[in-house]
Symmetry: C2
Amino acid sequence: MYDGIVQELIDELGRLPGVGPKSAQRIAFHILQTPTFDVSRLAGLLSEVRERVKFCERCGNVSENEVCAICRDPRRDQSVICVVEDAKDVSAIERTREFRGLYHVLGGAINPMGGVGPDDLRIRELMVRVGDTAVEELILATNPNLEGEATAAYLSRMMKDMAISVTRLASGLPVGGDLEYADEVTLGRAFAGRRSA
Amino acid sequence: MYDGIVQELIDELGRLPGVGPKSAQRIAFHILQTPTFDVSRLAGLLSEVRERVKFCERCGNVSENEVCAICRDPRRDQSVICVVEDAKDVSAIERTREFRGLYHVLGGAINPMGGVGPDDLRIRELMVRVGDTAVEELILATNPNLEGEATAAYLSRMMKDMAISVTRLASGLPVGGDLEYADEVTLGRAFAGRRSA
């Protein structure tokens, strides 16, 4: 559709998640037509990021060092580990400022249909951490969907004989949500988990 | 939220049009976590595209040469020029395969509120082209909105004394659309422009 390199850039941008052909075209033209847009900076960051960014050897979070900033921080509560599916979840939980313990990133969830079994996740590493350190509580913060629940159930079974408490994040109505629009599963969970007011 | 460079990449991606903070994060992690994604290729294309891509000195379309592929093509009908706001419009019209003439990209539309006047668009260049060459018809294909209509009206006035026919793209119901959901302006245009069946 376009002369060589412009079409190549559009195709390449279209491979990014959530970027369709129309958005890819819009982004490419923005880059072409906006003199203030610092192309070399974006290009440089892209090349650098994969070289410089590693995954924390303890928790599996993204990090520019062998061990990430959270695992290195002595002020974090070393007795609680929050288990999440993805590094993006760490950032979501950090934004709440509710949690001051450590994390463990599994790298996904158990999904037999998608060919992801327990051995494909960082579960062995979690067992070693739990066995080696003074962990008292494991918070299972996998997603509240089929795969996340299966993963939490699996981990909960694995930890049964260990002297630690294993908890799961509460399910219920989203804050600011409308009861009328809640799906029945969420509403059912909200009833089952009701607390004294 | 993230260690240095990951957050820098997220911020930089978030400056692209149509990419919010969530999408930027998703794209950054995709780049980090997908070994098959060719980062150096995207980085290379980004750096190259601004250096190599110019704008055609005749029509203003994007081009890797001084004169674009369409203007250079002797099989295109040299007697018709289709005037569009943006280079993206050229590609949209080319996809229809309905038009075999030449283009003229204005680089926007007259928009007094946004501070865009006739002198900010490639209108002078259009007048020169029309005066110099054997153009017989000018098709005004600016957008069917306030700014596009104003621009078309302005150009139509400018061309009044020249011996060429000036036409405007038809307005009406979109093909495959539902009459019930058409807005009243579109529906009004469809009535005004009705043809014998």
